[in-house]
């Protein structure tokens, strides 16, 4: 068994009194892609962080190239040749794209000074090989989540590490970027790099990984070559049952127009966006990274009001200048960046869940603890949030569970129009099915849903109609029957010379 470059033996990890990893073994060979799979909160990210030294294990040992190691912080693991992309993105908002890639190890001239020209040249090359078109001098602050993810990937690749760990790198990427990424990953693998890969998109695992290790509730379930298991096997290993009917959107007769958007523009970001959204309908919005879908959603929700164009809610023309007004009009928006916009990480699950409906938990401004607590408990239960209790801090939750809290929080407002931006980003298959079922149910009850998603199967499966955006413009509009993967991709990538589609 000496051909393992990394071996974990009986890793145990506790957070205060709660044990989240119970003696987990894991091994990795050079030149393989080893997938890590498990439900939300199963302990994948924690395991990764134990490997890289973000957390120290409470038990067990880590053997790297035959030697027992102990990392006090990520720097040490990095020096030992391990590079990682964490689930929570960690760019430097005030540094530009190129410098973000090389931070801490900028190329220098012989005199030891930073060689800026070389830095930009190399960053450009790297991004080009990933198929990303980004302004190298743009500050990371202005990047979308997906773009940030690409920069993180570029950074990890530039390290030329012997072990590369990627925790849900594709969670907000679209097919094209994923394809580019996989091409690169394969090349690295062929060069002998060992890769740990985490994703909730099972198709990706089959496409890329050689072996898979499954965790459940912090326990080790098993390791299998992917050639020997089926999708259903994996799901059963993960959740202990099978899940059928992944995209169950029922057909509901569309009702009145709930939201009508006409010629919405924000110069330089998006132009002339027009669409209608009816009650009971799910309108999918597809597009590549940076197509401007999030910006449109934010404009509608009043975060950054559009400079021109009109919005009608239930037939009434409205002016939405702030999220508050949007909420009052019955809109809800589940943002794509849950850390920055969705959650208040240092506060409890309860406080997070009640934040948007705080007035309902209060009488004349005085908080009614009992009401708040009940509301939060029910909401968390319904969404199957996995945590020890509802007073746990949101930042201590696993990524997927955080996403569930954000979803639950917005559903609490009982919106008439729900805008979902990457709603199932980082959510495991089981819960994803539940979320999809929920969306379907809500639509059936008359809610109008605008769903932005980079996961094409989700868009295709859940939407009644599909809009495609490219570079801030609408380029196509399909009904469910017309839409195919190919058509969407082509609309998302090729500019339509004839201008906007109605």
């Amino acid at each position: 068994m000496t051909d393992y470059c990394l071996e974990l033996k009986d890793i145990t990890k506790r957070f205060s009194t709660v044990e989240v990893l119970h003696g987990v073994p894991f091994n990795l060979r050079p030149g393989e892609v080893h997938a890590l799979l498990g439900e939300n909160g199963a302990g994948k990210s924690t395991l990764i962080k134990v490997i890289t030294g973000v957390h120290q294990p409470d038990g067990g040992e880590i053997v790297l190239n035959g030697e027992r190691v102990h990392f006090n912080d990520p720097r040490e693991s990095r020096e030992a040749g391990i590079a990682a992309i964490y689930q929570e993105l960690s760019l430097f908002p005030d540094l530009d794209v190129a410098e973000n890639i090389f931070v801490g190890r900028q190329p220098t001239t012989r005199g030891g000074l930073i060689h800026w020209r070389k830095l930009y040249a190399e960053a450009g090359k790297l991004l080009a090989s990933l198929g990303v078109r980004l302004d190298l001098k743009q500050k990371a602050r202005h990047l979308s989540i997906a773009q940030q993810q690409m920069v993180e990937i570029a950074r990890a690749f530039s390290l030329h590490a012997r072990i590369l760990i990627m925790d849900e790198p594709t969670s907000s990427l679209t097919l094209n970027e994923v394809a580019d990424l996989f091409r690169l990953v394969r090349r690295l693998r062929d060069e002998g790099t060992a890769i740990i890969f985490i994703s909730h998109r099972l198709e990706e695992l089959f496409e890329l990984a050689d072996r898979v290790t499954v965790l459940r509730d912090g326990y080790y379930v098993g390791t299998h070559p992917l050639s020997e298991v089926t999708r259903d096997d994996l799901i059963r290993l993960m959740v202990g049952r099978t899940i059928s009917n992944l995209f169950p959107k029922q057909d509901v007769p569309a009702g009145d127009v709930a939201l009508k958007v006409e010629n919405l523009s924000y110069p330089g970001v998006f132009e002339n966006i027009s669409f209608e959204l009816r009650k009971g309908e799910i309108l999918g919005m597809a597009g590549l990274v940076g197509a401007g879908r999030t910006d449109v959603a934010r404009a509608i929700f009043g975060v950054t009001p559009p400079t021109s164009g009109s919005i009608q809610v239930a037939g009434q023309p409205v002016q939405i200048n702030s999220p508050q007004e949007a909420i009052r009009l019955g809109l809800a928006y589940v943002p794509e960046d849950r850390q920055a916009h969705g959650l208040i990480p240092p506060m409890s699950i309860t406080a997070n869940l009640s934040l948007v409906v705080l007035e309902q938990c209060a009488r004349h401004g005085w908080l009614q603890d009992k009401v708040e607590c009940d509301k939060a408990f029910n909401a968390a239960r319904q969404m199957e949030v996995r945590a020890s209790h509802i007073w746990q801090k949101a930042r201590e939750l696993s990524g997927g569970n955080q996403q569930k809290v954000v979803l639950a929080k917005w559903l609490e407002t009982k919106p008439r129009i729900l805008i979902l931006d990457e709603p199932t980003r980082g959510i495991d298959v089981g819960t994803k099915a539940a979320v999809h079922a929920l969306m379907s149910k809500l639509a059936a009850e008359g809610m109008a849903i605008l769903m932005i998603s980079s996961e094409l199967p989700e868009v295709l499966g859940m939407s009644d109609r599909i809009l495609v955006m490219r570079e801030g413009r609408m380029t196509a509009h399909f009904t469910r029957a017309e839409a195919t993967q190919e058509k969407i991709i082509s609309a998302a990538t090729q500019s339509v010379s004839a201008g906007d589609v109605q």
Binding site: R78, E79, L91, F92, D94, V103, G104, R105, I114
Partner: protein
């Protein structure tokens, strides 16, 4: 104070220059208005005086800016200046034959030691910067008092060579101005062309990410406070030389001026953002206001109000320009 070339290729350079445009324009307008009312403003002596007056401020403000870029603040600079100035003055009084250069080094070393204490408490002791330096602000000031027992060192007790350190003009400009310019150039170089310099921005921009990216965050944080102490030590020597005295209340309240110069110069109080030219312009603006108000014969009772108002206007104008630049 000429605009230095940014290390980045074209477009960003244009933006970076534009970033300082707001305050530059404001300085020009203010200068023009003052010149109209007070002809004495546009004289060589006056320019020299302004430069002299902002030299010390620039040095400390640059160090303060580095601290602020890491998302910290050093309120203790004024007390460090007070303490080091007193100690240096004591040494000068005791041994007037000491070569001036060693005194400068001594002052910097003493300041660095005080800064290191701040740095340890903040970086390794994890005490929030504002709390730690609010504490050392009064601790170091108390030490001045304890050290001197209330004695002041006066002009006649200081050797001439020491007084000339700040005012001599062997190179055309007063030494102090040259020292400040050299210091600014070094900081500029450090911040833009060394990894450690870039680490300062990285740490301020996202501390956790910096740690993950292998930057020794605590070391960087420690370093900026050390540098802040070092700069304060240098400033203290210049201060004692320029004002030819050391008193228990030397530089009292100066910390707010250094913070003001940095933030007026575009250093973001939430970390990660700030440039050397910006800080120099910030110091220049403050120096200009201080110089101009007496010259234009604004009633002394109005001076403080005018000063505050001008700072506010400068910040607002700068903000509006920056925002309209982003909107385009």
């Amino acid at each position: 104070m000429s605009a230095q070339t940014a290390p980045r290729p074209h477009r960003l350079r244009a933006i970076a220059r534009f970033r300082e445009a707001g305050i530059s324009i404001f300085i020009l307008i203010l200068g023009a208005l003052v010149a109209l009312r007070a002809p004495a403003f546009l004289t060589m002596t006056n320019f020299k005086d302004i430069l002299l007056n902002i030299s010390i401020l620039s040095i400390v403000a640059l160090a303060q800016a580095m601290v602020i870029i890491t998302h910290g603040i050093d309120l203790s600079v004024s007390s460090m200046i007070g303490l080091v100035a007193m100690m240096v003055a004591f040494v000068m009084k005791q041994s007037p034959e000491f070569p001036v250069i060693t005194v400068v080094l001594l002052g910097m070393a003493l300041g660095a030691a005080l800064g290191a204490l701040n740095g340890v408490v903040i970086s390794y002791g994890k005490v929030p910067p504002i709390i730690a330096t609010l504490g050392t602000l009064s601790i170091y000031r108390g030490m001045v008092f304890f050290y001197s027992q209330g004695t002041w060192i006066n002009s006649f007790e200081l050797p001439r060579s020491f007084k000339l350190l700040s005012k001599g003009t062997p190179l055309g400009l007063p030494n102090m101005v040259i020292i400040a310019l050299v210091f600014a150039a070094l900081v500029y170089f450090f911040l833009n062309y060394t990894r450690t310099g870039r680490d300062i921005y990285a740490v301020g921009s996202n501390p956790e990410a910096a740690q993950m990216a292998g930057i020794r965050r605590q070391r960087v944080v420690f370093l900026v406070y050390l540098l802040s102490g070092l700069a304060s030590g240098l400033a203290a020597v210049l201060w004692a030389s320029r004002f030819e005295s050391a008193q228990t209340n030397t530089a009292l309240g100066f910390e707010l001026q250094t913070v003001a110069a940095a933030v007026v110069g575009g250093v973001s109080i939430s970390g990660g953002v700030g440039t050397v030219p910006g800080v120099l312009l910030g110091a220049l603006l403050l120096g200009l206001i201080e110089n101009a108000l007496p010259l234009v014969r604004i009633s002394p009772f109005w001076q403080l109000a005018a000063q505050g108002l001008l700072i506010l206007i400068a910040v607002v104008v700068d903000n509006l320009i920056a925002r309209s630049a982003k909107g385009k």
